[in-house]
Symmetry: C2
Subunit: 243 residues, 2 copies
């Protein structure tokens, strides 16, 4: 049984403003909830339908399928839903490899990029303030628990990049190949938005690098998906610096 007030409160978390006010977000699916709990996040409330309740280790509250539908953000609710407290972000360090995102709009792309950052041991992502919100339900589903190990910072990206002492690399189309550049151990890698790439102002702040294209007949593929491109550059950066 779940009260009307509680339903309203959970539904309110679909809006960024309310998530920020309550410093909480919604996660669905046993595996995702388990992962966030294991990673040390504070899981405040857990709801489960009787039908989905195979594992009791999370000590969830049992609700009906209709109730689950009323609080779920998914077309086919997995039957597990939890309210989780946001982690406090630390300060952005002036060392290591930092990823900067200029205006990524697709929550699935941002989620995939967070997973990639986790894989390649990038602990901090700096985002322009109009980048899609990390705690968007679609984004949370795509991060697969990596959210616990990667910190996102929403800032005025241009100002941030102008102020940093770290070397900046911007990913562009048809510029000098990443394989011809010497990437440093400490630095900032900037990736642009799906449709517009990196803004002109930010593009001027860094060394341009690009992923070479290998088409045989000069026909150009329009572009790589931003998450895929991020994966390729991060892999090459780590290979090159050897750490």
């Amino acid at each position: 049984m779940i009260t009307k007030n509680k339903i309203k409160q959970i539904k309110s978390l679909t809006r960024k403003k309310n998530r920020e006010e309550m410093q909480s977000f919604v996660v669905e699916g046993y595996k995702s909830i388990r992962e966030l709990k294991n990673a040390g996040l504070s899981v405040e409330e857990i709801y489960v339908t009787k039908e989905a309740n195979k594992l009791h280790d999370l000590n969830p509250e049992i609700i009906s399928i209709a109730e689950m539908k009323s609080i779920s953000n998914l077309k086919t609710p997995p039957g597990y839903l939890a309210i989780v407290k946001m982690l406090k972000t630390q300060e952005i360090p002036e060392r290591g490899l930092i990823l900067a995102l200029d205006n990524i709009q697709d929550p699935g792309n941002l989620g995939t990029i967070v997973r990639l950052a986790d894989w390649f041991n990038v602990e901090h992502i700096v985002c322009n303030s109009n980048t899609v919100d990390l705690y968007n339900p679609k984004c949370i589903q795509a991060t697969m628990g990596s959210i616990a190990r990667v910190q996102l910072h929403y800032v005025e990206l241009e100002t941030f990049l102008k102020d940093t002492q770290l070397p900046i690399f911007v990913t562009a189309m048809s510029e000098q190949s990443i394989y011809e550049k010497k990437m440093p151990t400490d630095g900032i890698l900037v990736m642009g938005s799906e449709s517009h790439g990196i803004s002109t102002e930010i593009m001027q702040l860094g060394t341009k690098i690009s992923i070479p294209q290998y088409s045989s007949d000069g026909i150009k593929t329009e572009s790589l998906n931003v998450a895929t491109a991020t994966g390729i550059v991060l892999a090459e950066w780590r290979r090159f610096t050897g750490m």
Copy 2:
């Protein structure tokens, strides 16, 4: 104006069986249609709503918004829809870099992989017969025209791999790093499905390679998205062989 019969015929192309029978598929959006036409595919019929009809170079037939809704596969129809003839696939060559996919289920992932193959000049993808259909509307939307330059072959993958003379590389978790292996110019790269990876039988047929993980504290990210992993391995293969 579009006849009821025509609507029925277009809608029937949402099913793989009908697409194969008619050797045709549906593409939506001016840009995608334009790209396929430029790439030399035979665009048979083009429909457009009066509201979307900004460009007339495709010589489309004008229909109403209600009619467009009745033939579109998308929640928000872009207003341009075309029937396109499938390209005839050539034989699978015994040279070059060939990508093999074992049971990819997500049309978005397959579409992204086709775009990646195009970028890295991989002209042939061999798929296990239970891989998602390339001409699935969601997949077509994700390929962005690369479908004209990359050929997919649906085969019994295990039999195909047992019969080939080319060296086979299978992407696995936690095996020898791709950076420690010598990739050949001619060879087959196998990628596994989203949830199950490469099947046990196929895994035994090739040299295992993996993308190294760089986590600092031993906590393992579950896995990389299959499209992202494909991009990283293809980029490294081309960098290593220099072509």
